[in-house]
Symmetry: C2
Subunit: 153 residues, 2 copies
Amino acid sequence: MMERVPGALGTSASLALRLGQTIFSSASLLFMCLDVEFYSYTSFSYLVTVMGLVTPWSVSLALVDAYSVFVKCLPRHPRVLLILIVGDWALSFLSLAAACSTASVTSLMVSAGPSRCPSRLCSRYQLSAAMAFLSWFLSFASTLFNLWLLPSL
Amino acid sequence: MMERVPGALGTSASLALRLGQTIFSSASLLFMCLDVEFYSYTSFSYLVTVMGLVTPWSVSLALVDAYSVFVKCLPRHPRVLLILIVGDWALSFLSLAAACSTASVTSLMVSAGPSRCPSRLCSRYQLSAAMAFLSWFLSFASTLFNLWLLPSL
């Protein structure tokens, strides 16, 4: 029963999902943070805050999954799984909101012309929003897989 | 068993939720649409599109609920309920995205000063975004209640 659901906590598919979340959320954070002006826009600061929450969450769950896959299969309690699902769910909503705000503000700045945003900066903002969307998608997939497992426990 | 879950399809709590969604989504649509310039911004057009989808969906489900409460209790099939859950889920994601984009673009325009947006227009945009957030919240609540009912069928 433990390996029946791919993508649930402790399987190799879940490890792949978590690694993808880590890569995309830290890429989004870096694209936005290595710029010096992100704190002058509300939505860019919000994106940095949310991605700063998503990255440690994904890293720690990737470590749990790696331990469970390579060393010893950990037992799964329904209460732990419930906390995981609620956390994933909340973080996926937050990262969707952050990605949408960043994308819409960037598109407004692009339409305002190069006086508002030089093309080098604007493409970095766009890349950061795209990475945030990918991170949302993977975290939503994790939620669905864990939610699927919950009734069987 | 039919009335055990408040808020599921065909109960009076569900009727209240659907009426609330109808009111908030149409208010958001009207606050944005009675303005003539909404189509010059991508995120405002997106909000209008999404709210134009949410309003008829909520109205038709409110009619189904009203029929079920006041006239005759309709049978509930798992397949119909699954379509409802998926539709509510997709619309709640879309309306969260639209509300976030509108709110962030509005806050950017407010910070740009009154030359960019006169205060009468800006407060209407803000009201529209707030109504879209409320509509998202109610539609998410409907999703959760129906999802809770699904395993018992």
